[in-house]
Symmetry: C2
Amino acid sequence: MDLPPITQSFVSHFGEMGARWGVNRTVGQIYAVLFLSPDPLCADDLVDRLGVSRSNVSMSLRELQAWRLVRTVRFPDDRRDFFETPDDLWKIVRTLAEERKKREIDPTASRLRELMMEAPQSDHDRHAQKRIGETLELIELLTRWYDDINKLETDRLLMLLALGAKVTSALDLKDRLLGSAARKTLTEPAPEHDSEGDPK
Amino acid sequence: MDLPPITQSFVSHFGEMGARWGVNRTVGQIYAVLFLSPDPLCADDLVDRLGVSRSNVSMSLRELQAWRLVRTVRFPDDRRDFFETPDDLWKIVRTLAEERKKREIDPTASRLRELMMEAPQSDHDRHAQKRIGETLELIELLTRWYDDINKLETDRLLMLLALGAKVTSALDLKDRLLGSAARKTLTEPAPEHDSEGDPK
DNA sequence: CCCTTGTTTCAGAAATTTCTGAAATATATG
DNA sequence: CATATATTTCAGAAATTTCTGAAACAAGGG
């Protein structure tokens, strides 16, 4: 490995964290190198900098492209592919959210939907289905919210994030200004999830 | 494996998905069984139902406890530990979010903070540090938002989720009612990211 | 104490994932 | 079409993770 000190340390960290993020060490490291590089790099640059095999680099880049976290760039009079990360951090955040949802949530949601179609054979099945149904509703609520929020342009998103929980007081204020009739039309009756959870 | 059909299918799915969620097959399956079980189960119940070794169950339960996704229950006149999942789904969602943040975000944030303290040795380092700083700011913005939202009681949270992107129009409305001066102080200018890759 | 019942630990076996080098493929150029 | 350059594939090697059975540990009676 041959990298300036700060980059080096950043790259190692991404290598270690890779596992927790659902990618392997090399994939994490390659992403880190590209992320910090001022200009696009070709596969052999990555081989040199990380000291891993050419084929490993090739497969890892492939995976990063599947995640839409790197893209290729071509230069005139050069037959090699070069790779770079989008430099808009917000775009990266959105891509990560989309891809993780696709891999971690969507398959489960559709499997649960299938299970809700099955005819229960026993009391046990009936209980399971009830629980599965509640779970599915919650997932659908969360993903609808996500889809909705994800449509906002970045500056509006930024505004909401900066507001944080204060939105609720802002909404309360609005209610007071308008009378609460208007809000009722915007909020839907809350789905119920009850249980003998702990008193907080 | 000896489970009624719907539970069976749910459990297999959680086993397969386990890997994507950062746990292994057995951990995923055990969680799934406990989640669907109407009453708490002891370790040997899990051995029977999943056909894995006793020690595997023991280690997997330990991991699920580290995640705070299962808790133990004792019954009078029985020396065995029994295990169950919280049945309030919102509590589960919150726990998942907290634990994943702790494992996936926090270590990176603190490493990036360390890297920002280093004295840059070269232009390359300076560029890397700039990029790292932007990343850290974004992470901090997101985690502040998360901490803030996470404080809300579940019914308020539910209200926000149901509103989705409509909050922004609600806020716009509030602005119109109040005059826009108030909001300006809450939004920040969007971070700029420019770059031009040039051929080597 | 010494059973009995239940849980945890841990070294090594088994399974899976990652990585490599060599061969195959693709594509531009003379 | 032959050559040079670049990339991808893939079978097996290497590394890592998961899982097991046996042994150690813990705790409640008798």
